[in-house]
């Protein structure tokens, strides 16, 4: 009988630790799933850009600098997508957004281009994709916040420290865009 009480206490403590550990794993898993949502949309944007460049080129071939810029920015974003951390990707994507804006700014000078159905479809698709990136980012950051908060608060912080859970990075796109001055070059 005397032996039973410590056994019960140990069992309860173990169950408590297992529960906390599993909660952290669930939260981290949510962060990763949310990240894959962002990833899908970023890739979709990368896929749309070559078509856009080709379409606009057909009407504004001499705006070469703009196309080079956006192509370079896209390549950098794709490269960051393969190896980069969320922060590095955010920087690259942010430059791509700025470059894309110059493409649309150029396109505004060509009324014939505005009337082409393919261009209309592309810009609707790109707008929708940017919306989706914005919403995916918000969902991801919400999950990161939940996870990081759990890492810092009692009692999960003890478990996190013991089992080596590390905080995840936010994906800060909007702030970066505001700070970044778009590099417009019409050479």
């Amino acid at each position: 009988m005397e032996i039973l009480i410590p056994v019960i206490i140990i069992a309860l403590v173990v169950a408590f630790i297992v529960g906390l550990y599993n909660r952290l794993v669930t939260l981290r898993q949510r962060v990763r799933e949310a990240w894959s949502d962002i990833d899908v949309q970023l890739k979709r944007r990368h896929d749309l850009i070559p078509n856009l460049v080709e379409t606009v080129k057909g009407y504004a071939a001499h705006e070469r600098g703009v196309f080079e810029n956006v192509t370079k920015a896209r390549a950098a974003a794709v490269a960051a997508g393969q190896t980069g951390t969320p922060q590095e990707r955010a920087v690259a994507e942010n430059q791509l957004t700025a470059a894309l804006r110059t493409v649309f700014a150029v396109a505004e000078n060509y009324p014939q281009l505005q009337a082409v159905q393919e261009f209309k479809d592309l810009s609707e698709n790109l707008t929708a994709t940017e919306d989706k990136i914005a919403f995916a980012r918000r969902f991801y950051n919400g999950n990161v916040r939940d996870y990081n908060t759990a890492l810092q608060t009692v009692p999960t912080n003890i478990i996190a420290g013991t089992f080596g859970f590390t905080p995840e990075q936010y994906f800060e796109l909007a702030d970066a865009t505001e700070r970044e001055v778009p590099k417009v070059s019409f050479t």
Binding site: A136, R138, F139
Partner: protein, 305 residues
């Protein structure tokens, strides 16, 4: 901070709705069993016990059926159709974008070819969910207003409101059907033939009659009680999702101004809709029998955000 608040509320709402689902099934099983027992006693004294397993079986079947196939039933009854591929790209984009913001798979989209502006969501969880919108909604609302309405409906999906609403709709229908059937069988003389020389018989008939009349009313009140507070919550979380409460408020204003009734809606499905589709709601017992909170109050709360 506001976003953290809304996430918390969603998890709370999910937990509350899980309890509600269980409570509803237990309650309706109880009502059906009581009905079955009393009916059994009326037709053959001592036969009530025999009716209990039948009643239990019946409530089990109807709860299971509404859980797994109720959404298809409701969609079929509302004459909703799947849009052709490439039809309504804007609606599709809005649904996909907002679903990403909530981290769920986009629900299936259905169209109702009716000019009254309205919408509803149904299903049992976010993986098995559908959103139906009317042609009138697409024609009369602009993009931000449509986003507001879709965000409201998606909130019902994530909160698991759709499951509770679906169960209530189908179970209330079953209870109404049964008591209707009981009343009919009394009408052509269940008690009259053999009543007089049997002491307790008269009493049990009165109880049965009372039950047959009262249960549908009680069932309806339960249905209404679960449905109103939920609309405010869906408005609030929808507005939080789009970060633009005026969009939803303006959609509500347009829908309130529209006097057309939705022909494919009926009393059973009315509580599923974004706004009350039956424009002829009785004014006398307003507080008790409205399926939806007053639109003016919904707009006021959105504007206060």
């Amino acid at each position: 901070m506001a976003a953290a608040q809304s996430r918390l509320n969603i998890y709370d709402a999910v937990a509350a709705n899980r309890w509600r689902t269980i409570a509803l099934i237990v309650m309706f099983t109880g009502i059906l069993t009581a009905l079955g027992y009393v009916v059994g006693e009326v037709f053959a004294p001592g036969g009530g016990v025999a009716m209990v397993p039948i009643a239990l079986g019946l409530s089990g079947v109807s709860a299971t059926a509404s859980y797994f196939a109720g959404d298809k039933l409701v969609l079929a009854q509302s004459q909703a159709r799947e849009p052709a591929p490439g039809e309504e790209p804007q609606l599709r984009n809005i649904v996909e974008t907002l679903s990403i913001g909530l981290g769920i798979a986009p629900p299936k989209i259905y169209l109702i070819d009716d000019t009254a502006p309205n919408a509803f969501a149904t299903g049992r969880d976010p993986k098995h969910a559908s959103i139906a919108v009317t042609r009138g909604l697409l024609d009369k609302l602009d993009r931000t207003e449509l986003e507001g309405v879709i965000a409201h409906e998606l909130s019902h999906v994530v909160n698991r409101d759709i499951r509770v609403m679906l169960l209530v709709t189908v179970l209330v229908g079953t209870v109404a059907l049964l008591s209707d059937w009981m009343l009919r069988s009394f009408a052509w003389g269940g008690g009259g033939r053999r009543g007089r020389d049997r002491g307790g018989g008269g009493m049990i008939v009165i109880v049965a009659l009372a039950l047959a009349i009262l249960t549908p009313i009680v069932a309806t009140l339960i249905q209404l009680a679960v449905s109103r507070q939920r609309e405010y919550l869906a408005d609030a979380s929808g507005a939080l999702l789009t970060r633009y409460p005026p969009g939803l408020a303006s959609a509500l204003r347009k829908i309130a101004a529209d006097k057309e009734a939705l022909e494919v809606a009926n009393k059973a499905t009315a509580s599923l809709y974004f706004a009350n589709p039956l424009k002829d709601a009785p004014r006398a017992l307003d507080g008790l029998f409205d399926t939806h909170p007053p639109i003016a109050e919904r707009i006021r709360r959105l504007e206060a955000m």
